[in-house]
Each structure stands twice: as structure tokens, then as C-alpha cells.
Point group: C2
Chain length 448, copies 2
């Protein structure tokens, strides 16, 4: 998924204003569907539908899945009901399944009657696969053949199956009960004598995955054996679908981003970094920050046992807590910006938006932690006024953390270095020093 | 790359001892080449060559690239020179390029004369592509056609080109100067009338990458447009190679692992976690730990300005340094174990090996940091003996960090949770508390 590209928006708007359908169609037909989605994403929903309406449903259904899922949902909700059936029928089964899983189940039930019966069966089957299973990654569009025909006949049959198959490069050989008995590549069929039997050409040692196996099983097998697709079977070894290379690639990228976000203590985002609303982001970061804060409170309580002789030494107990707050928020920001840069969700030129977001996040998350910080500080500080040093430091340090964490990876990218070099421990180390300086400065100001 | 699977080793050794070449050949021919490599990886080099010698060079060359690169290098170095030529000639160009890039350039010059002249040209061309460029990912084996022939003629020509092409599913259309003018899929050729001209069937709007573009450009284009391959052209738009889906998939996985390791402050490993020698690992972790330690020293020096009134309060200045040392080594271990688990380099059952490695790493890295820690402590401690608190704590805390960081992700996996939940900040938080307890305990022991 590439980010929206606004470069053609003015021209498209002129064509839309003039009702110049032939030009719109030409744009949509000449470019790759992914590029069409990229160039039109900056239009509003009504305008996008006007562009889509200029082309046949078949091409509509190719362009549509390249919009971000949230946008697809929005477009579907405001679509003319007459459009929904053909669009869903023409969409590749796996893309359609991704979209329908995003939707409210009631809305899905509402629109399913608009879809032809044969497709409806496939939709229900795919939707019934558990999230995270091999089945949830698969498409029901595959090419299959019986074993007892010749290569020549096979190619003729493929010609009639082809329009429905996302991939005809691997053809699965099924027996009368639809059990998977072998597979043959289109390459083998082409290279074989036309009179050779499929049963003699096919590989019998088929590597498949069970529909209820974890999706990692399908991903691993495709990656390990360099396959274009992995067949998915039910518990009677009947073929129910295939997982194709492009879906595996998307799944691997998504998983790498999720893992990176988890390792930076951010609950995985469902949308891109810049697309996630501030409230959702506060929640996804705040939960983990709060858990980490609670752990750091234990550290402070342990340190406070150190029985300080001088009254202002209660401040010592809060050193690890204060610097951990900054380090943790800094790690979150660094992780989010690094993953957004590497997935293309955010570009160097977005730095102002990143800056504004992270200022807002720093203030929000800092306030969130400042409250329990103050409550804890009151227990140890000589006066409630002096206890204010702690929340003031936490707020400042968390803000510094979000800014250092987000802007340093951007700076690294801008001078041609890998932003991932701005590792979590490195962000923490920098925020630690600044945090200590802030803490000492504020302490001296408050304590006089 | 899957880990070695020892299950067939006893049977293979019996076959080898009995000189039962037909059975060895049967094993090697019946299984997928990736599986053959997996099952034989546990044999020693001489035994692997005995197995490989049982099959023709063509199949040898398919199995060989599935061994880890380090093992391939070892096998090549001890190979009979008569084997090297045919093996390299039959290997897919991209796999061969990966291997040759691992080797000492002198050794490459030494073995290149063993390879047929045509292949030698390809090898030199691929080796000349800069590391990290689209060219370094590509293979020179692609199918190409002129524009002015029919679909029927095209298929006939492909039949003769096919044995040399890693992928015949996308066919690139070249003009007389080998400039890329279009592409056609095998699917389109099969579905077209045999008399249709390739120039009418082909897509003219070809998305390609320049050979010197960064490899990310090829990866992004393939992923965004759901291609099986992306053509690579020189600065005159002449086709020089293709980047295929399987190489992109490997590159994405590798990059995700490298990014994760960088974000955990470990220099990216060239081999698997369990395969990396302790010396190499000490270096890859030690460099970053030392840099982070130096930053933490600044924090300590800032804190030491806090002019303690009581003599034992010099210990306060070292609090952030001590806990950061444990947190950083813990993050490194957690990152390494999480990436090893997700890439399949390490399994739950390897926990004893992980434990032993991390004890060794903890002691090595801890000692490494303890020395500068002591030198710094002597400046602030009342006596050189009392300064020993700092190195003793650093050593203990780093060891605890490596153990907590490595064993918690394994524990999470064993109870069915995602090991990536054991995020860096979380490991730091746990090591912080333990570190403070150790520090206080040691301080009380030393100071009485």
C-alpha cells in the first residue's frame, strides 16, 4: 500500500467538473490499478466513485483493493447499492475477505444478498476461517484439473478456468472427491508433449497446509520452498483454497511492523502512523506506558527504603522512575516513526505533521503519567508543593522523549543514515541525560 | 532457510556406510530440494558431498543453495575442483551471486576459470552490482521475446528458453537493442489466439527499476503491484535482469530481522543466533553496549555534580548507569531471542543452549563494562575497595539482564503467548528493579 499521491488531483478535478468520462476512463485503464488508487486517494468519496464509475466493474474491482482498508470501508458504506454486488463479485476473493472482515457483521449480512449465490458461498466460507489461520490468508480462486487428461487438454481447460483464477501458474490436481493428489506448474504443461498425461507430469509430493493451521505455517512453507502459492486443505485433504505469494508478502510486512511496534511497547496500530487518531494512539501507547510506569513505581519504592539522612534525598528514589518515563515514551515514538518510514506510511516531508503529533502525544501521555507520579511523590516529599517537582519533571521528560524519539530517526534519514540505527537503547540513553538535567534543574528551582 | 533436521541422519549414515548410492539418490530426488538440505545439514562436509555426488549436477545445484551460506562456503572450499564448475553453472544466478559474495575475492578468482565462459560473464556482471542495490538482488535468468512474433511462436520459443529461466511466467519484450519495450504474462499468451501478435498483447507501461537503484525500490515495486518479478534495466533502459518474488521475500525477512536487531542495539548478525560464534557476538553486542555505556557515564557525571553531603551518597550518581547496563544487555538478549524464534533459527527446545550462551555473554559483556565502571568509580568512591561495588554490580546486573532478556521470551512462547510481547521497555523495567535490589544489597555489604 503506497501513500496517497496528490500530483494528479487538480487534473482529475477538472475532468470531474467537466464530466469528461472518456479521459477519466483513459487514466484508470492505462495505469496499473495500484497507481490509480494512489493518484485518486486524495479525492473525496463522491469523487472517487465518479472516477470508478467511468470504468467497468471488473476494473473497478481491481483498483478498489489498493485503497487503505479504512477507506474501502468508507467507500462501500456510501456506495450506491447497485454497485456493491458487481464490485464484490469481481473482487479477488482474498481482497474481498480482508475488506468484509473490517466491516460490521450486520452490514455484511445486509449487503451479502446483493452478491450472486456462488460467490456468497465462498464469502461465507472464507469469513468463517479464524483470524490468524492459514484459511484467513487464502483465496478460493485457484486452477484445478483432474489427473486423467493430457497436457493439451489441460491447457484448453485452463483457458476456460482462467478468468476466475488469481493464479494459473500452479494447477492443483484433484480426484473425484476434490482431494489434493498432486500439482503441476503451467511451465511443466507448456514444456510437456501435448499428449503427455497430467498424472505423469504432476508432482505427487504436495506440500500443503491445513485450513485451521496458524497463518505462519503457510508463510513459512511458501518462503522456505520458494513457492508462488501454497494449497490449503481441509481435514479430509480436500482443496479449499490457496495462499498466494503476494498475500504472504503483505502478511510478512504487516507482521514485521507489528513485532517492531510491540518491541517498542506500542500496541500494534491497525492504520498507518499518520492516519491513527490521537485518541486511539493515546490508548495504544498509554496502556503500555502505564504498565511500565507501575513497574518503575516499584523501583522507586525499593530505592526509597534507602533511608535518606538529608531531607531532600527523597528525590533520589525517583531518579529511575523519571528517566524511565522519558525513555519509554521516546522508544515508542522512535519505533512508530521508524516503522512508518520503512513501510512508506510517512515520508521525510511529513516532519511537521510528525512534530505536531508528537508534541500533542507528549503532553497527553506526560499528563497521564504525571497524575499517579504526583500521588506517589506526596508520600515521600516534605511538602505537597515540593512534590510537584515529580509531575513537572515527568511531563517535561515525556515530552522530550516523544520529540527526541520521533525527530532523531527523521534526522538520520535526512542525512542518508538508516533511521533504524536510532535504536531504542540509544534513544533511552539520550533521554536519560536530558531527563537528569531537567530533574536537577527543576529540583533546584523548587527546593531553592 | 529452515534449521537442520536430524531425524534422517542415522538412516543416511547407514546408506553412506553401505555405499548405497541408489537409496541416497532416491531420497535426494523424491524430496523437495529444501527438504533434502534440511535433512542432510546435520551430516559432516564429506558426508554431504557423498550424498550430493549421488545425483546429477543439475539437482545438486538445486539442493546446494538451501544450506546456510556459511555452510555453502565451507562445502565449496573443500569440494573436489571437478565439481565446482558444473555446480556453479547449474546454480540459479541469484543464489550463486549470494554465495560468491560471501567468499574471499581471491578464492572467487581462483574458481572462476572452472566455470563456462558464458556463465562467467553473468557472474562478473552480478558481482559488480553494489551491495544493497537492486542489481545485487537480481538474477540474469529471465525469459525475453521480440515484439513482432505471434503468441503461438512465442510459446514455441519459450519452450527452448525455458530450461535457463528461473521464471517464465513474465516474459519481457525487447527491441533490437535489448531495450525493454513491454511485457506479457505466460497467462496472457496461453489465453490469446495463437495468431495474435506479441506487440498487441504486451503491456507497454512497464514498471522497472534501475540496476543501481537501492534494493528497497525493487522490493517496494514488487510488493505494491503484486508482481512475480520486477525487471531491472541499465541507464539505457536495456534489460539486465529481474528481481523475483522469492528473493524479495527473503530480503524482506532479512531486513525485518536486521531492523529488529538494530533497534535492540545489536549490530545485525550475518548468521543465525545459535550459529554466531561467541567472539563475533561479543563484538556485535559489545560495541553498542560500550557506546551506550559511554552515554550513561555522562549521566553519572551530571548526577555527581549534585554535591552529596553524606559520603556514601556518591553511589546515587551511579544509579542510572548501573540500571542502564542491565537494561541494555537485557534488550539485546530479548531482541536476539525474539528474532531467532520468529525466523526459526532457534526453537523452544534449544533453551539450554540459549541459557548457556547467555550466561557466557553476560559474564563476557559484564566484565567488559565492569573495567571502565571501576575506573570511573575510583574517581568518586571514598576508597578504591569501596569503588568495587560498581564493577560487581555491573557484572551481576548485565548477567541478570542477559538471562531475563533471553529466558522471558522463551517462557512466553512456551505458554503460548507472543514472545514479542516481551518488549524492550518491559525487559528494561524488570531488570531495573532487580538491578536496584542488587545494587543496594552489594552497597550495604561493602559499606557495612
Amino acid at each position: 500500500m503506497a501513500a496517497a499521491n496528490p500530483i494528479l488531483i487538480p487534473e482529475l478535478r477538472v475532468m470531474l467538473a467537466e464530466g469528461d468520462t472518456p479521459s477519466l476512463r483513459e487514466v484508470a485503464e492505462e495505469l496499473h490499478p495500484a497507481t490509480v488508487a494512489e493518484f485518486t486517494e486524495g479525492l473525496d468519496d463522491v469523487e472517487i466513485w465518479q472516477v470508478l464509475d467511468s470504468v467497468p466493474a471488473e476494473l473497478q474491482a481491481e483498483i478498489f483493493p489498493y485503497y487503505p482498508l479504512g477507506r474501502q470501508e468508507e467507500l462501500l458504506r456510501m456506495a450506491d447499492r447497485a454497485h456493491i454486488g458487481p464490485l464484490l463479485e469481481w473482487m479477488a476473493a482474498d481482497n474481498r475477505d480482508d475488506l468484509l472482515r473490517e466491516l460490521d457483521p450486520d452490514f455484511v449480512e445486509d449487503i451479502l444478498p446483493l452478491v450472486a449465490k456462488a460467490e456468497r458461498h465462498d464469502i461465507r466460507m472464507l469469513l468463517s476461517c479464524a483470524e490468524g489461520s492459514a484459511g484467513s490468508l487464502m483465496t478460493t480462486e485457484y486452477a484445478s484439473l483432474p489427473a486423467n487428461i493430457t497436457a493439451g487438454e489441460a491447457i484448453t481447460r485452463l483457458r476456460s478456468q482462467a478468468p476466475d483464477s488469481e493464479s494459473i501458474y500452479y494447477i492443483y490436481v484433484l480426484d473425484a472427491e476434490r482431494k489434493l493428489v498432486g500439482f503441476v506448474s503451467l511451465r511443466d504443461l507448456i514444456l510437456a508433449k501435448p499428449t503427455a498425461l497430467v498424472s505423469d507430469l504432476m508432482q505427487r509430493d504436495v506440500i500443503s497446509v491445513r485450513v485451521d493451521a496458524p497463518s505462519e505455517a503457510a508463510i513459512d512453507r511458501l518462503a522456505r520452498f520458494d513457492f508462488l502459492a501454497v494449497p490449503v486443505v481441509d481435514d479430509h485433504n480436500r482443496l479449499v483454497g490457496i495462499v498466494t505469494h503476494d498475500d504472504v508478502l503483505d502478511a510478512i510486512r504487516e507482521e514485521a511492523t507489528e513485532d517492531a511496534q510491540m518491541s517498542g511497547a506500542v500496541a500494534p496500530l491497525s492504520d498507518g502512523y499518520l492516519e491513527t487518531a490521537l485518541v486511539a494512539m493515546t490508548w495504544k501507547r498509554g496502556v503500555w506506558l502505564a504498565i511500565l510506569f507501575a513497574t518503575a513505581v516499584l523501583t522507586a519504592m525499593v530505592l526509597a527504603k534507602w533511608e535518606p539522612a538529608e531531607p531532600q534525598l527523597w528525590l533520589v528514589a525517583f531518579i529511575p522512575l523519571v528517566i524511565a518515563s522519558g525513555g519509554n515514551s521516546g522508544n515508542q515514538s522512535a519505533t512508530l516513526v521508524i516503522t512508518a518510514l520503512s513501510s512508506g506510511d510517512c515520508k521525510l516531508s511529513d516532519w511537521k505533521r510528525v512534530f505536531r503529533r508528537e508534541v500533542a502525544m507528549g503532553l497527553l501521555l506526560g499528563s497521564l503519567l504525571a497524575v499517579p507520579g504526583y500521588l506517589l511523590a506526596v508520600l515521600y516529599a516534605p511538602t505537597p508543593i515540593k512534590a510537584l517537582i515529580i509531575p513537572a519533571t515527568i511531563l517535561t521528560v515525556v515530552l522530550i522523549g516523544t520529540l527526541v524519539g520521533s525527530l532523531l530517526p527523521l534526522l538520520f534519514r535526512s542525512i542518508g543514515l538508516d533511521p533504524a540505527l536510532m535504536s531504542n537503547p540509544f534513544v533511552s540513553a539520550i533521554v536519560d541525560i536530558v531527563g537528569i538535567l531537567v530533574y536537577m534543574g527543576l529540583a533546584m528551582t523548587f527546593m531553592g
